[in-house]
């Protein structure tokens, strides 16, 4: 009896085993095989790594490596210098202080002659040309006034 039940129901269970549709099988199989493309990408990466290694070996053989290794040092030196120096000093102009051209005029005070009225603006740095000796010869005297510069005629008459 038990064997008979095994045969009947067991056979029917085997025969009527649930079967997925072909579309469903294909969709699941497709999603499973998808990551294999990533494995292909890994192979490409490996090829790229091998090629890079070959290039490095070639550079090392021709001395390119030492040049390449010194490049970062020089760059770091430049960066260090740029950050160390003060900006004001870096922008200061390089001028010649004791040149023949500067010696010709010497270190003289500025004169206001011909530049306008002394009463205008900041006159602290200006010098009245009529005070003291500003040039060769004596300071002007009353005798040397050639015309009518006052209420009296100081001329010869």
């Amino acid at each position: 009896m038990g064997r008979n039940v095994e045969d009947e129901i067991g056979h029917e269970l085997r025969e009527s085993r649930p079967i997925p549709t072909d579309e469903y099988i294909a969709s699941v199989a497709g999603s499973v095989r998808g990551p294999h493309r990533v494995r292909g990408a890994g192979r490409r990466l490996a090829v790229a790594a091998v090629l890079s290694a070959i290039a490095l070996v070639a550079l090392a053989a021709t001395g390119g490596m030492s040049q390449a290794s010194s490049a970062p040092q020089s760059v770091s030196k430049i960066v260090k210098t740029a950050f160390k120096s003060k900006p004001a000093k870096a922008q200061k102009l390089n001028t010649v202080s004791n040149s023949a051209a500067q010696d010709q005029y010497g270190d003289k005070e500025k004169c206001n002659s011909g530049r306008g009225n002394l009463s205008e603006g900041d006159d602290s740095k200006l010098k009245n040309p009529h005070e003291g000796a500003t040039g060769p010869g004596d300071p002007p005297t009353v005798d040397c006034d050639p015309g009518n510069s006052g209420d009296k005629n100081r001329g010869g008459d």
Binding site: E8, I9, V32
Partner: protein
């Protein structure tokens, strides 16, 4: 112990058929079976590098994943198991005619352990020895449990047939 490298999803079409059959015997409808089977393969793809051939066959590995997925689904839907009366009522809701339920509906009326045994034995086609290894049971215990499951199936189908035609032919009986 050295891990033996082998792609467990090499024969994917065959695995889809087996896993689907196993899952379909365990869950109430085909939509759930497809959903769970897809989740099983998604997880298998994610963990395929962890597969160790020395610990079992690819289908045994997949069954382990499927069990987890089914348990997760059942925890989300605690009323997944249908009673026989529900199945009959659902089938005849409109026509008011009681039809003889199918074998698959009868399987769904079994308890979870019996459905698991039916799924492994007749869905995937494992031998009783393989089932015993899978479920950590004695081979004899597997044979006894399968026999009881079949008896229960027969009883369910007999009840259904007697509802349809009192005194009529029983499903599966030889004419």
């Amino acid at each position: 112990m050295i891990k033996r490298r082998r792609d467990p999803l090499a024969d994917v079409e065959s695995l889809v058929r087996d896993v689907y059959a196993y899952v379909a015997y365990r869950v109430p409808n085909h939509a759930d079976a497809e959903e769970i089977t897809s989740a099983v393969f998604e997880r298998a793809v994610r963990y395929r590098k962890r597969y160790d051939a020395s610990k079992g066959s690819p289908i045994a590995w997949m069954i382990g994943i499927a069990r987890t997925q089914i348990a997760e689904q059942q925890s989300r839907r605690p009323h997944g198991e249908l009673e026989l009366t529900e199945i009959v009522d659902r089938a005849d809701l409109e026509t008011r005619t009681v039809e003889r339920i199918s074998l698959h509906d009868a399987v769904r009326a079994l308890d979870d352990r019996s459905r698991e045994l039916i799924g492994l034995r007749y869905g995937i086609g494992l031998s009783t020895r393989e089932i015993a290894q899978e479920m950590c049971l004695e081979e004899n215990a597997v044979n006894v449990a399968l026999h009881r499951a079949r008896e229960r199936l027969r009883a369910i189908m007999t009840t259904s047939a007697s509802i349809e035609t009192p005194g009529g032919l029983r499903r599966g009986s030889t004419v």
